[in-house]
């Protein structure tokens, strides 16, 4: 079934076959420069088999490169690179077998060996192919005209006939029950991917409006989980990351509840900071930037700037974290603070507005 040329079409590659046959002829017929041990030089031939009646090709494929010694060297180089590629390919298999991957370090070694071997295998093969093309293959431009894409009228008629015959003999037309149930079967399959879009939800509803801070929640130092008294957090210019007590391992809660605690010297805090929400010149602001939710915690005690590293939104911590610069449109929300009976810093309530960036349903 491989050669099914129509009776009118000439077999493609006939010329090539003839050439290949010719190359098996005795060496003395091939030309005077045959080097012992090298393959017989190819004969010049036309590049493409021509349709009958076409004008003859105006270019001929050159036979061997002129510099046979250089060609031999290139051949060796290509073969060497292909052998390197083969060895590297075997190296991939060997590294997979040799390196165990049960610890982090072993995974690193395994990845390194696998990657280097794979890279070497492909690089050597590609480099060899390029050298082959550049040094051994003839440098000649060949233009091949595109054939007409439209099939012949005979083929088109034959296809239409076959299609109609198939429709008839399969009884697809005759038996509507099969036809309709098949169509019914494809509909749910097509709908299934649309149903999976449900995983984009559910909508956040009210969950973005509130954090886990509530009246009496103690502020603990992020990292050491120690509660704080104003006497401990007493040095003006101090700043700490604090979290609600009991949520150190709850990343979902901390994503909204993370808070920056700042201690000021007397008389520095000004409006619009809510003074009733501060204790001993200690003020707490949300750590979540109101622009896009990055942790805005780069506090400079000299300028009282809070800087967000993502887009350089700058807030004035001494004035209610109002925006001084950058794309943020709202101040950082302030957490109401008070002291509990034991003298620890606690929250008066949750934040009075949603923390973090704007969202669709934000009131």
């Amino acid at each position: 079934m491989s050669e099914t040329n129509g009776p009118g079409e000439p077999a493609r590659g006939e010329d090539l076959m003839a050439d290949l046959a010719a190359s098996g002829q005795p060496a003395e017929l091939q030309g005077p420069h045959r080097i012992v041990g090298t393959p017989a030089p190819a004969q010049a031939r036309t590049m493409l088999a021509e349709e009958p009646g076409d004008p003859a090709a105006d270019r001929e494929l050159p036979a061997d490169p002129e510099d046979m010694v250089g060609a031999k060297r290139a051949e060796h180089a290509v073969a060497t690179l292909f052998i390197i590629s083969m060895l590297a390919g075997l190296g991939v298999i060997a590294s997979y077998v040799i390196f165990k991957v049960h610890t982090v370090n072993n995974v690193r070694h395994s990845n390194l060996a696998l990657g280097l071997c794979t890279a070497a295998a492909f690089l050597a093969m590609g480099t060899g192919a390029v050298i082959w093309v550049r040094r051994l293959m003839p440098h000649i431009e060949v233009t091949e005209q595109r054939h007409e894409l439209r099939s012949t009228p005979e083929n088109r008629a034959a296809f239409a006939k076959t299609f109609e015959e198939g429709a008839e003999t399969s009884q697809f037309v005759k038996r509507p029950m099969i036809r309709r149930t098949l169509i019914a079967a494809t509909v749910p399959v097509a709908l299934a991917p649309i149903v999976l879009l449900r995983d984009l939800g559910p909508l956040p509803e009210q969950s973005l409006d509130h954090t886990v801070w509530k009246r009496g929640t103690r502020l603990v130092v992020f990292g050491t989980n120690r509660p704080l008294t104003p006497a401990e957090f007493s040095s003006p210019g101090g700043s700490l990351s604090v979290i609600p007590e009991g949520y150190a391992d709850n990343d979902d809660a901390l994503a909204k509840a993370a808070t920056t605690l700042i201690k000021f010297g007397p008389g520095i805090l000004q409006k619009p900071t809510v003074m009733n929400w501060t204790v001993d010149n200690i003020v707490a602001y949300s750590k979540i930037c109101t622009h896009l939710g990055c942790p805005a915690a780069l506090y400079e005690q000299t300028t009282h700037h809070i800087l967000c590293p993502c887009h350089q939104s700058t807030f004035d911590a001494a004035r209610g974290a109002t925006v001084l610069f950058g794309p943020a449109s709202r101040p950082l929300p302030q957490l109401p603070l008070m002291l509990n009976a034991e003298g620890y810093l606690v929250a008066q309530s949750d934040y009075h507005e949603p923390v973090g960036p704007s969202f669709w349903e934000r009131s």
């Binding site: 050159p62 002129e66 510099d67 690193r108 390029v130 093309v133 550049r134 040094r135 003839p138 440098h139 000649i140 431009e141 130092v221 992020f222 990292g223 050491t224 704080l228 008294t229 006497a231 401990e232 957090f233 007493s234 040095s235 003006p236 210019g237 101090g238 700043s239 700490l240 990351s241 700042i262 201690k263 942790p295 915690a297 780069l298 506090y299 400079e300 005690q301 000299t302 300028t303 700037h305 800087l307 590293p309 350089q312 700058t314 610069f325």
Partner: protein, 271 residues
């Protein structure tokens, strides 16, 4: 010269020159940015009156121009030093930030201008003016037995936002920056936390206990020993530089490969 003359038209000569230039620039950059050594930590001597009077003399010579003859400061020029403590002076002088070379947004770390004995004397003098934390002892900054894991947690929570996760430093507002911690000695790290130099917040012993501070020091100094995969730190500022270097490196490689693949062979005149 004849060797160069005969090969300068070689197809690879251009690439070789390019590579040489890149290596040269890289080496130059490394020689500029590398080097420098941190001040060695020495156990602070107990301040005696002779040391204080020596410190006073040095203060009048090197510090009083800006900070005032009585260390009271000058409005808009330099802060008063009464009550800042010996630890603040030791940090500023041992890191070379003071005496200040020029007023700028940030005082850069540079080789210290005063030797260790002079530094301790000035610190003792300023400490004698009253108040402020003292220079920590060698035992206070020792990392022996410190909890490195806790140190990392604290560092990530309260330091990494400015100093980067591995202490590579980073930018702040209006030209200020958080310096890299790669050359800081344990004593200097301790003093910086305790005194809050320049824009840095203060972390007093009530918020971060001495044990917490030792854990932070253990993390900051321990992270320096980590091996850089591939042998290059790239500033250790995260995946952005690493991705950029990988992208540009591979791009250059692919451009060179494309040039090689499509270049006409020099001796081939058959086309």
């Amino acid at each position: 010269m004849s060797w160069i003359t005969s090969r300068r038209r070689h197809p690879a000569a251009g690439y070789a020159i390019l590579l040489l230039g890149l290596l040269l620039v890289g080496a130059l950059y490394a020689s500029i940015t590398g080097g420098g050594d941190g001040a060695t930590a020495a156990p602070p001597a107990v301040a005696d009156s002779a040391q204080i009077s020596q410190g006073h003399t040095i203060f009048l010579q090197d510090c009083a121009t800006c900070h005032g003859l009585g260390a009271q400061g000058q409005n808009g020029v330099a802060p008063g030093l009464i009550g800042v403590g010996a630890a603040a002076v030791d940090f500023q002088v041992s890191t070379g930030r003071m005496p200040l070379r020029q007023t700028d947004a940030e005082a850069p770390r540079k080789p210290p201008q005063l030797n260790r004995r002079q530094t301790l004397a000035v610190a003792a003098y300023v400490g004698s003016l009253g108040g402020g934390p003292a220079i920590p002892t060698a035992a206070e900054v020792s990392t022996a037995g410190a909890d490195v894991g806790l140190g990392q947690q604290i560092f990530v929570a309260d330091c990494a936002q400015c100093h980067n996760f591995v202490g590579a430093g980073g930018a702040l507002t209006y030209g200020k920056y958080a310096p890299a911690l790669t050359q800081s000695t344990p004593t200097q790290i301790y003093e910086a936390m305790l005194t809050g130099p320049e824009a840095m917040p203060v972390f007093n012993d009530g918020t971060l206990t001495p044990a917490n501070k030792r854990a932070v020091i253990a993390y900051v100094t321990g992270i320096r020993a980590q091996v850089n995969p591939g042998g290059f730190s790239l500033g250790r500022v995260g995946p952005v530089t690493e991705g950029l270097v990988a992208f540009l490196g591979l791009l250059l490689f692919m451009v060179l490969m494309a040039l090689w693949i499509t270049a006409k062979h020099g001796k081939d005149k058959r086309i």
